[in-house]
């Protein structure tokens, strides 16, 4: 009956091999993580290219139909695409990192697309008199802006309630020439969160009710929504 003796010496090679395998697993994890980050950034780039094309298409449509019809220009698809891109960008900013140069390029491009969309939609709205409301939202990711996240919740909810409101958000600290120009044109000071609505700038957290007061169209939309729901009830009865 022979029982194996317990190890007499420390097996340093096992420590080395364990280190090697662990390092290999770590390297694989780094590779996988980078691979997916790159894929995500590529997806954002593709989305931006598509939106850019859509805006160009809308602009062209607008120019072509300048004097005739307002139909089919700037429908909600584009707005949804811009909004989805915004969501993904803010997720990527948190997970991939704001300092990533590829990400910064994408964010710059996104800001440009937002401004282009804003200018085009404003023109369409004025021409077609469709009572679309516009909000330019300036925020900061810095911890000094304690209310920026809350303002984000308010605006998301507001857009859910009133899809007619188009919201464009800009990182106040993201120093690109276009955002700087936007800040100087509308006189946005570093007192965030800041909202530019109907030619007026407001600072600090604004609730849904406070924003509704600044946008009188919301009363009309509320009435329309009430009338539609009443009609539906009557039709059901």
């Amino acid at each position: 009956m022979e029982i194996e003796n317990v190890r007499e010496k420390t097996d340093w090679m096992k420590y080395f091999y364990s280190f090697l395998i662990t390092a290999l697993i770590f390297a694989t994890a780094i590779y996988i993580s980078n691979y997916f980050s790159e894929k995500k950034l590529n997806q954002l780039k593709t989305m931006e290219d598509k939106i850019s094309l859509d805006i160009l298409s809308s602009e062209t449509q607008f120019s072509l139909l300048a004097e005739s019809s307002c139909k089919n220009i700037g429908d909600n698809t584009l707005s949804r695409e811009v909004s989805q891109l915004g969501d993904k960008l803010s997720y990527a900013e948190e997970k991939i990192g704001a300092d990533d140069p590829d990400f910064q390029n994408l964010k710059t491009y996104y800001s440009l697309l937002e401004i282009k969309d804003y200018l085009l939609m404003k023109k369409i709205s004025e021409k077609c008199k469709d009572k679309t409301a516009f909000i330019l939202y300036f925020y900061s990711n810095k911890s000094s802006c304690t209310e920026c996240q809350n303002e984000g919740y308010v605006l998301t909810k507001l857009h859910e309630m009133y899809p007619q409101i188009r919201i464009y958000s800009f990182d106040y600290d993201f120093n690109t020439p276009t955002i700087e120009t936007l800040k100087s044109i509308y006189g946005i000071e570093n007192k965030l969160p800041a909202l530019y609505i109907n030619g007026k700038v407001t600072y600090g957290l604004k609730t849904i009710e406070e924003i509704k007061k600044i946008i009188p169209e919301t009363k009309v939309w509320d009435k329309e929504a009430l009338a539609t729901s009443t009609k539906k009830v009557e039709a059901t009865n």
Partner: protein, 409 residues
């Protein structure tokens, strides 16, 4: 940034430990599978088993009966029950063994478990000396599977595999998986000569070890841990008989589990401080360079990671409250887009680490149960244990830092 670096280092460390265990397991797998010897012949050594008893009237009879049922020559096996000043009717319950020649019943004033064990050592005359906690029960072939290990003269103690006795509720089922993990780790530690606990339930010693290194000490209520460290310090070897099964009654509720585990962790930390000179010394091998430092670091890293997790989630809770106050109920958008899967480095390493942990746990279950059967307790263990374990680790570290003594119960 610093927090991320700390998390990467901790993840690397825990993955390294898992890889190290796995390499050792695959290196020794064949040996683990075939290692199954039973005592044969007529030259059976005499064995004294001490059963320290303090208020154990509900389980003591079954404990002694399990010892009496051991497949071992009756004239070679003596059971010494040491009643450590019980205030319940343990002593009266024990009267049924009065006429049994194999059972000796002693009564002494309460002094703690280690005093009961030392009382037993003082009265022991056998070749081998063992202890069985009064809430534990042995398999009938447990002892004869352990004895062949003593044919190696360097081995001074053999520890068994401990299982949970009749797990009923979720908490006990979680402990069942945990004890299976313990069986696996104990086996691996044997190959590294790094066992640092000689558990109360049925560790068998050569009696002369106590003459050489002294009796049990108070050792912060973890005398079994201190004894193993003292043996390691004196270069005595401890083996593990993974096929000798002992069943122990485990805590039924979170409060008693918390107190038990806090005592164990506190005892480990205090004894580690007492034996700090064993760290990073060539003569103590793997125990000194790897196992003890890793065990200490893992306690603090678990607390760090748990605190980090709680703080970040508290923040989320406050954010959600603020959000509710502002806009009322608003369900978070559920993104099924792959884009929103967290593919950050910590998450990917986390997935690798979880896969390695599950693999090791499945190997442990196979080793403990003889076959691999995936039961719900595996999932209870995976999801509930990481939530509750930091509680007693935190309690133990708090008491160690602020020198608060811990009671047995």
């Amino acid at each position: 940034m610093i927090s991320s670096i700390i998390i990467y280092i901790l993840l690397f460390g825990s993955l390294y430990f898992e890889v190290f265990l796995m390499i050792t397991y695959f290196e020794k797998r064949k040996h683990i599978k075939t290692e199954y010897l039973k005592m044969e012949g007529t030259n059976w050594p005499s064995v004294d088993i001490i059963v320290p008893c303090y208020n154990e009237s509900t389980t003591i009879i079954a404990t002694i009966n399990s010892l009496l049922n051991l497949e071992y020559p009756k004239d070679k096996l003596r059971i010494m029950v040491i009643d450590d000043g019980s205030v319940d009717d343990s002593l009266k319950t024990l009267e049924i063994f009065k006429e049994n020649a194999q059972v000796q019943i002693h009564h002494k004033e309460n002094g703690g478990k280690y005093t009961a064990l030392n009382f037993g050592i003082k009265n022991s005359t056998a070749d081998l000396f063992g202890c069985l906690d009064a809430d534990s029960f042995v398999d009938k072939d447990a002892l004869k599977i352990m004895l062949p290990y003593f044919e190696n003269p360097k081995i001074m103690a053999v520890v068994p595999s401990i299982k949970v006795y009749e797990p009923k509720n979720i908490l006990q089922k979680i402990q069942k998986v945990e004890y299976s993990w313990g069986i696996f780790v104990r086996k691996i530690l044997t190959y590294l000569n790094a066992l640092h606990v000689t558990p109360g339930p049925f560790t068998i010693f050569r009696r002369k070890i106590f003459e050489n290194i002294g009796n049990y000490r108070h050792a912060h209520h973890t005398e079994d841990l201190e004894m193993a460290l003292r043996m390691q310090k004196n270069n005595y070897k401890i083996a593990n008989s993974h096929r000798s099964f002992v069943y122990t009654v485990t805590p039924k509720n979170i409060k008693t589990l918390y107190k038990q585990r806090r005592r164990w962790t506190y005892g480990f930390l205090k004894n580690t401080i007492d034996y700090k000179h064993m760290f990073f010394k060539k003569e103590y091998g793997n125990l000194s360079f790897f196992i003890l430092p890793f065990a200490v670091v893992s306690i603090f890293s678990t607390i760090y990671l748990a605190t980090n997790f709680v703080l970040s989630n508290i923040n989320t809770v406050f954010e959600q409250i603020a959000k509710f106050k502002l806009i009322g109920f608003s369900f978070h958008k559920f993104h099924i887009d792959w884009f929103y899967f967290n593919t950050g480095l910590v998450s990917v390493i986390g997935v690798f680490s979880v896969v390695a942990s599950i693999t090791l746990i499945l190997i442990s279950i196979k080793l403990a149960e003889g076959k691999l059967k995936i039961k719900p307790e595996l999932f209870y263990f995976l999801f509930i244990y990481p939530v509750i374990a930091p509680l007693w680790l935190f309690g133990a570290v708090f008491n160690t830092i602020f020198s608060k003594t811990i009671t047995w119960r």
